[in-house]
């Protein structure tokens, strides 16, 4: 290749530089796509560690049952609030997951994706609000037992995560409205940096909402099903 460089004229040199720039951009697009892939998985992993610490507290205090105060009789959060938050989270996650899968595969109408994402974002947002509102209506004092303490610790955290999911989906929706073709790429736009970052973020959010659905189920089972 060096020989080629040496043997070419000024036009050839410019072409080589152009090719080098194209190579750099191509490598960086691949890196950017990979960074979203890695980032989403890391975020889910670290979030799992955080909720894992909460679950450790749940089982640790449950097994110790100090002063037989793991859970006093009748302690149970509102079923209405728990079920509402669970359903909203699951529906939001399913909506976003399904339509994004379709969109990334190129089989979804962009308007459908926007509507689904908007609805999912709203569901996560409202679920967070209901969760926070519900914290004032638990019917038990936070320090009355181990169960009550863990519940009061974990559920607001879950609400914050719901807000995070709502934020992430809203930014994707806003992005798709501002730059419409990122949702329905055509021709050369497929490999554009905007499309790469958008698709990477959308795919990452897909994993995150699936994680949120899993967490909501686990929390519901632990706090509302297990007696």
């Amino acid at each position: 290749m060096a020989d080629t460089m040496a043997g070419s004229g000024a036009d050839g040199g410019a072409a080589e530089v152009g090719s080098a720039i194209e190579r750099d951009l191509s490598l960086e697009r691949a890196s950017s796509r990979g960074a979203y892939w890695t980032g989403a998985r890391l975020f889910v992993a670290l979030s799992a560690m955080a909720f894992g610490a909460g679950l450790f507290a749940y089982f640790y205090l449950h097994s110790l049952d100090n002063n037989t105060l793991w859970r006093t009789p009748g302690q149970r959060p509102s079923d209405f609030i728990s079920v509402t938050v669970l359903v909203m989270t699951l529906v939001g996650a399913a909506l976003y997951w399904w339509f994004t899968r379709q969109m990334l595969a190129g089989g979804s109408n962009s308007a459908d994706w926007r509507v689904a994402t908007g609805v999912a974002s709203a569901l996560f947002f409202v679920a967070a609000l209901i969760q926070f509102w519900g914290m004032r209506r638990t019917g038990f004092f936070p320090g009355s037992s181990g169960y009550a303490s863990v519940y009061v610790a974990l559920m607001p955290l879950f609400g914050v995560y719901c807000l995070g999911a709502a934020y992430w989906l809203e930014t994707l929706l806003a992005r798709s409205i501002r730059v419409r073709w990122v949702v329905s790429p055509e021709g050369s736009n497929l490999d554009s940096p905007q499309r790469v970052t958008f698709a990477g973020s959308a795919e990452g959010a897909k994993l995150f909402v699936a994680f949120m659905a899993l967490v909501s189920i686990v929390l519901f089972v632990l706090f509302s099903i297990v007696s």
């Binding site: 460089m5 691949a30 960074a35 890695t38 975020f43 955080a50 100090n66 004092f141 169960y147 554009s192």
Partner: protein
């Protein structure tokens, strides 16, 4: 498109409207800076404090307690948010809500002002980190000198017992918390992209955020002194932490902030190393320093959330009055111990591994031979990272672990000495039959290895239940971990400062003063901490300001040695300021140490894009004396400009 690298000027994506921050140059909010940050912090603190008072008004329990932790915690959080908003960290997340997105930061300009702002240039963030870490270290060191001053006499006291505990707590927390990122912050952020042939970090905004959180944590931690301090030391054990005054809130919030900083900093490092390696930079060509950064970052990202949760639980116990750590109401103080040490022991390796990464990186350069047992050493570092998850309960040997569990944890703890030993032997193996160049960085590396050996061997004793039961809580333990962390980690850190500052700042630190710094630090460090093993064996407990009169001579010796460490640090400060600020700038060699590393293939100071084109890596970083060609080609493909042809030594045998 040329763009400003400061946060206020988010890059415009092609084919879409420019974002407001990039175009509204006259707007005050488009130019965030430290002054706005300070104003924002003050306003945020006042608002948060007021809100906390308002919130607490409705709770009879809080009014009866005599202190309102709500107001303090929310004040700190409000202040931090205000600080970050003022510095420009929240501009982009808000713009994202409107659909704006930055796509590139390739063409950037750097000015002195960049070093005092929220910047997306990883080199600037590295320099910011270096300056900040040195400040945190010296402040923590001042607390250490206060401790040693108090311990000059067993009976005459400068500090009352409560105040002494505050000072011990501030010293320990400053060193174990603020200094966690002492290597990964300055050197990881600055050099990882350069060493892997990348032109940027994966998430530059997160990188900047990870740094700008640390000043907030620093101020919050120090402010604890004004609120009565925290009596728990850096480990924050319950139930004392729940009963303590509002100073404990500063400890918890500061630790929380630092864990966030650690998580996002580590997150960025991992994503960068995995995805932004240049072509040809295979896993077996990855510099050992980068491997150390990767393993460390993994530990940070996965361990720190657990500590964050523990701190959050503690704040809840102090504010909304949960009983997570209160045994009388269904909680357990052991819950704190388990969660804290689940982070706390990996934390030890979060400190040790970057230090070893520095040693392993510098040794081949100054030994002029390949790194010994590269793959085995990498396996050793990964092994340390993996095993570090299974040893935390040895911190509970004495405090109440199930006795049947002790042998299991003793075994895992002893097991970790195997991969640690492999890493250590890998470093020593590189010295075998080498033509050593005893430069200042090399002296610090050798000194660090010597110290770490003492710290490591004393650690093996402490992992045994019978020995630990006797030595627990004594100065023996204190001497052990100071040998590993200050004797190892900080010696390696200073080695890295002397080695890499020429690349970071374009100035080489004075060699003569550097040698004075090394020899005084090495002698007085050992003079300070070696006697403490004996002091501990003779029964002096940690965190107690009175001791047996028979131990006074040893304590006086140790205190005087500690002051001399302080003098040694003054030599360093003088050297650093003289060489980087006072002396006239003189051009330095592009590659003063004759390293093969990719980071030395760039210009000094490093251009905004690091490399004009992404390099092609063609050989390993440590092929000294093997006849291998330069590590990489730089420039446009086909131009094939080798390192040596670019005016850099590349291969010096």
């Amino acid at each position: 498109m040329a763009t400003d690298i400061t946060a206020g000027a988010t890059v415009r994506a092609g084919g879409e409207p420019a974002d407001p921050a990039a175009t509204t140059n006259g707007s005050w909010w488009a130019h965030p800076n430290i002054a706005y940050g300070v104003v924002g912090a003050a306003a945020g603190y006042a608002l948060g404090h007021w809100f906390g008072n308002w919130l607490a008004n409705g709770f009879q329990q809080i009014q009866g307690m005599g202190q309102n932790d709500y107001a303090v915690v929310l004040g700190y959080l409000g202040g931090t948010i205000g600080w970050l908003a003022g510095i420009g960290a929240v501009t982009y997340p808000l713009l994202k809500l409107l659909g704006y997105q930055a796509t590139a930061q390739h063409e950037t300009k750097r000015s002195l002002r960049s070093y005092f702002g929220y910047t997306l240039d990883h080199k600037v963030v590295g320099v910011q980190y270096l300056a900040a870490m040195l400040v945190y270290f010296f402040v923590g060191g001042m607390f250490a000198l206060a401790i040693r001053t108090e311990l000059l006499s067993p009976t005459n006291h400068l500090l009352p017992p409560g105040k002494y505990l505050e000072v011990v707590g501030e010293h320990g927390t400053m060193m174990m918390m603020m200094m966690t990122s002492a290597v990964i912050g300055p050197f990881g952020n600055f050099f990882v992209p350069l060493m892997i042939g990348s032109r940027k970090m994966a998430y530059p905004r997160l990188e900047a955020l990870s740094f700008w959180i640390t000043p907030a944590a620093f101020v919050v931690l120090l402010s604890g002194v004004l609120l009565g301090g925290f009596p728990t030391g850096w480990t924050g054990y319950a139930p004392l932490s729940i009963e303590a005054t509002q100073g404990q809130d500063s400890y918890l919030v500061a630790f929380g902030l630092i864990t966030i900083s650690m998580i996002i900093g580590g997150f960025n490092i991992i994503a960068t190393i995995i995805n932004y390696r240049a072509p040809g930079m295979t896993w077996t060509r990855l510099p050992l320093f980068v491997w150390a950064m990767l393993v460390t970052a993994m530990l940070m990202v996965l361990a720190a959330p657990v500590l964050a949760m523990a701190g959050y639980f503690s704040i809840l116990d102090r504010t909304v009055q949960t009983a997570l750590f209160d045994v009388n109401h269904g909680g357990s103080p052991y819950l704190w111990q388990n969660l804290f040490w689940f982070f706390g022991h990996p934390e030890v390796y979060i400190l040790a591994l970057p230090g070893f990464g520095i040693a392993l990186e510098l040794l081949p350069v100054f030994a002029r031979k390949p790194a010994f047992a590269y793959r085995t050493v990498v396996a050793g570092m990964v092994g340390v990272g993996l095993l570090s998850w299974f040893v935390w309960q040895h911190h509970l040997f004495v405090s109440g672990i199930n006795p049947d569990m002790r042998p299991v944890v003793m075994l895992t703890t002893e097991l970790i000495s195997i991969p640690t030993g492999i890493v250590f032997l890998g470093a020593v193996g590189t010295l075998w039959r080498a033509k050593l160049r005893l430069t200042v960085p090399m002296l610090f590396v050798l000194g660090g290895l010597f110290n770490f050996l003492i710290g490591g061997v004393s650690g093996v004793f402490l992992s045994d239940v019978p020995t630990d039961t006797i030595a627990h809580g004594s100065f023996f333990v204190m001497a052990h971990f100071h040998y590993t962390i200050m004797g190892g980690y900080m010696f390696f850190f200073f080695g890295a400062v002397y080695y890499w500052v020429p690349k970071m700042l374009g100035r080489r630190l004075n060699t003569r003063l550097g040698k004075v710094h090394f020899w005084t630090l090495f002698v007085f460090f050992n003079s300070t901490f070696l006697p403490l093993f004996a002091v501990g064996e003779l029964g002096q407990p940690r965190r107690v300001f009175e001791y047996a009169a028979s131990l006074q001579t040893l304590n006086i010796w140790v205190s005087i040695s500690a002051y001399l460490i302080g003098l040694s640090m003054l030599v360093f400060i003088f050297n650093f300021l003289k060489s980087t600020v006072i002396d006239d700038p003189t051009p330095i060699e592009t590659n003063p140490w004759g390293s093969r590393g990719l980071e030395w293939m760039t210009s000094t100071p490093v251009s905004a894009n690091n490399f004009d084109h992404i390099p092609e890596v063609v050989s390993g970083p440590y092929d000294y004396g093997t006849g291998a060609g330069p590590m990489a080609t730089i420039g446009a493909p086909g131009a094939a400009v080798p390192v040596s042809a670019a005016g850099q030594p590349g291969e010096v045998v």
